[in-house]
């Protein structure tokens, strides 16, 4: 109900907090998009992976067309690129330069910094999905409509899990080591961790371990959703578990200084 007072409502603390987080998210997004190396990992390499998988015959047994088989895995690769590798490296160097300490003394605070990063990761991931999805559609990609809601949930959950893992690495080792670890992990997970290729391709003795990786949970579940329209509950649970474990570990061991 409106009252008759003329006073404009004072911005509440919650409004101020949300405004700061959105501004920080925009700032971090622009930072990611203006970084050449990050754009290569976020856009160029996934595009090359998509084109390479469509032109070769590596995934012929996975779906009825090469592009339908390849695109879900490339979207999973985008998640690892942005949430884990790109975000982890940026955070590692921000920590080195004292940027995290300085910004945490402003009203934004530590919590605001983290939420700002999550917003930036989700924004960049959205742009990646538009670009990769557009390119794939041009090449004839037709995702299963029934699986699209599950795919959106999986992309967001995957981004959260890999952001937590990226923060855990960035907050505990030197930035040079973060650079090496997250890039190496990107290559290994893409090739053998269930991202681009189904985890069933792994040797039998490795299968149980690969299935528990967040990369396999994300890649296989996205393929299930977008190729056959099915929702993988186990995949969602594995990603949730990784989010909780990595989030807890990052909260516990992240060094701000």
């Amino acid at each position: 109900m409106r009252t008759s007072t003329q006073r404009p409502p004072a911005p509440s603390n919650a409004q101020g907090t949300i405004k700061r987080i959105m501004l920080q998210g925009r700032y971090e997004t622009l930072g990611m998009l203006s970084n050449g190396e990050q754009l290569i990992v976020a856009a160029v390499l996934p595009m090359l992976a998509l084109i390479g998988l469509v032109l070769t015959d590596l995934l012929s047994d996975v779906a009825d067309s090469a592009v339908n088989a390849a695109t879900p895995g490339v979207l999973a690769l985008c998640v690892v690129s942005t949430a884990f590798t790109g975000q982890g490296i940026a955070t590692g160097f921000d920590r080195r330069y004292g940027v995290l300490r300085f910004l945490s003394t402003t009203p934004l605070g530590r919590t605001g910094l983290i939420y700002g990063k999550v917003i930036a990761v989700l924004t960049v991931l959205f742009l990646q999905v538009v670009v990769i999805g557009g390119l794939a559609a041009f090449m004839g990609w037709r995702p299963a409509p029934a699986g699209i809601p599950a795919a959106i949930v999986l992309l967001i959950l995957g981004a959260t899990a890999f952001t937590a893992l990226g923060l855990l690495v960035a907050g505990t080792v030197r930035p040079e080591a973060t650079l090496a670890i997250t890039n190496l992990a990107w290559v290994l997970l893409a090739a053998t961790g269930g991202i681009l290729f189904p985890s069933t391709r792994a040797p039998d003795y490795l299968q149980p371990f690969v299935d528990l990786l967040p990369s396999a949970a994300l890649g296989d579940s996205l393929r299930a959703a977008l190729i056959s329209g099915t929702t993988s509950v186990s995949g969602i649970l594995i990603l949730l578990a990784w989010t909780i474990i990595a989030g807890f570990a990052a909260t516990r061991w992240f060094k701000w200084n």
Binding site: P11, N13, G16, T17, R20, L23, Q24, Y27, G31, S34, N35, D94, Y97, G98, V99, R101, F102, L103, S104, T105, T106, P107, L108, G109, G112, W256, N257
Partner: protein, 315 residues
């Protein structure tokens, strides 16, 4: 008016240190200090004395291991955005993102505050326009310092922490920064800064805390610290050099002889003509004519060296 910052018996441990079998190392052993609005309070000490760690605890960046910190009446660790909006921080290593240019950074920092300062006037005042198109990565140390100071002031704070504000500044920028600190003080800000430069402490401070090895070792106004006692005339230091070997003098008790390096001597606490006559009488009896001779009021540096000297004797 209640003080803006009160620190009592602050303890801080770092570690575990692998080289010490994973033990913790205590770096602050009970620091206490108080800072008021409209004053410049300085933490003076050599590198590694615990100045930045003390500031880190006061800013809420570090969790304390004992004692208490009250910043504007609140515990700064995990403080509310409302408290952080009243406090500005300039870190020793700047804390600035290298890829950004200064003005977009300052605008972003200002956008975090409800009532930000006028960024343009800060930019003009600190001469940031001269290099505003250069990314922070390519700025000189002194230019980075000026951007970091502007960033600390962007939120129009009541309390400002400046960790080594004059490091890397050329004489001209130093003057600009010192004048600005003076104006902020006049405007009623509580300014807490650290320095290892005696000259800066002497020029800027209303109140000085000398810190060594994580402990308070002396405190007071510059005048109090440089005088032996308030009711006596300011003590002078006489320094001289001589080549001849000398027998130890018999002198009034309050005149201390320090041999700063071979052949260079300093007497502290020369307060009267009689003190000086005792010195010249000693030279006369020894047949010594000093090679050089100066006489000057005690500086903070003298106080600091005395304290360091005592510390070395104690070890």
């Amino acid at each position: 008016m209640s003080p803006s910052l009160v620190i009592e018996d602050l303890l801080k441990d770092f570690g575990p240190v692998p080289a010490l079998d994973g033990r913790m190392v205590r770096v602050l052993h009970g620091i206490s200090l108080t800072a008021h609005a409209g004053t410049v309070t300085t933490l003076l000490g050599s590198n590694g004395a615990g100045k930045s760690t003390t500031l880190g605890c006061a800013q809420g960046l570090l969790k304390t291991n004992g004692g208490s910190v009250r910043l504007l009446g609140e515990d700064p660790f995990g403080a509310s955005p409302a408290l952080r909006s009243r406090v500005g921080v300039m870190l020793q290593d700047g804390g600035l993102p290298p890829s950004l240019r200064p003005i977009p950074l300052l605008e972003h920092v200002a956008s975090m505050y409800e009532r930000p300062a006028d960024i343009n006037s800060l930019i003009e005042r600190l001469g940031i326009n001269e290099f505003s198109t250069t990314s922070i990565r390519r700025l000189s140390g002194g230019q980075k310092q000026r951007v970091a100071l502007a960033a600390a002031l962007a939120g129009n704070p009541e309390v400002i922490f400046l960790d080594e504000p004059s490091a890397g500044l050329d004489p001209q920028s130093r003057q600009v920064v010192f004048d600005l600190i003076g104006e902020l003080r006049e405007a009623g800000l509580c300014i807490v800064l650290t320095t290892h430069l005696m000259e800066d402490a002497q020029r800027l401070s209303d109140y000085v805390y000398i810190i060594d090895d994580g402990r308070n070792v002396a405190q007071g106004t510059v005048a109090e610290l440089t005088a032996h006692a308030a009711n006596e005339s300011p003590a002078q230091a006489v320094t001289f050099s001589a080549t001849a070997a000398m027998a130890l003098p018999v002198l009034p008790e309050h005149l201390q002889l320090i041999e700063s390096k071979p052949g260079h001597y300093r007497f502290d606490g020369v307060r009267s003509a009689a003190d000086l006559a005792a010195l010249t009488g000693w030279w006369s009896s020894e047949g010594i004519l000093p090679n050089s001779l100066t006489m000057q009021p005690r500086t903070l540096e003298d106080v600091f060296l005395e304290i360091a000297d005592k510390g070395n004797h104690a070890n």
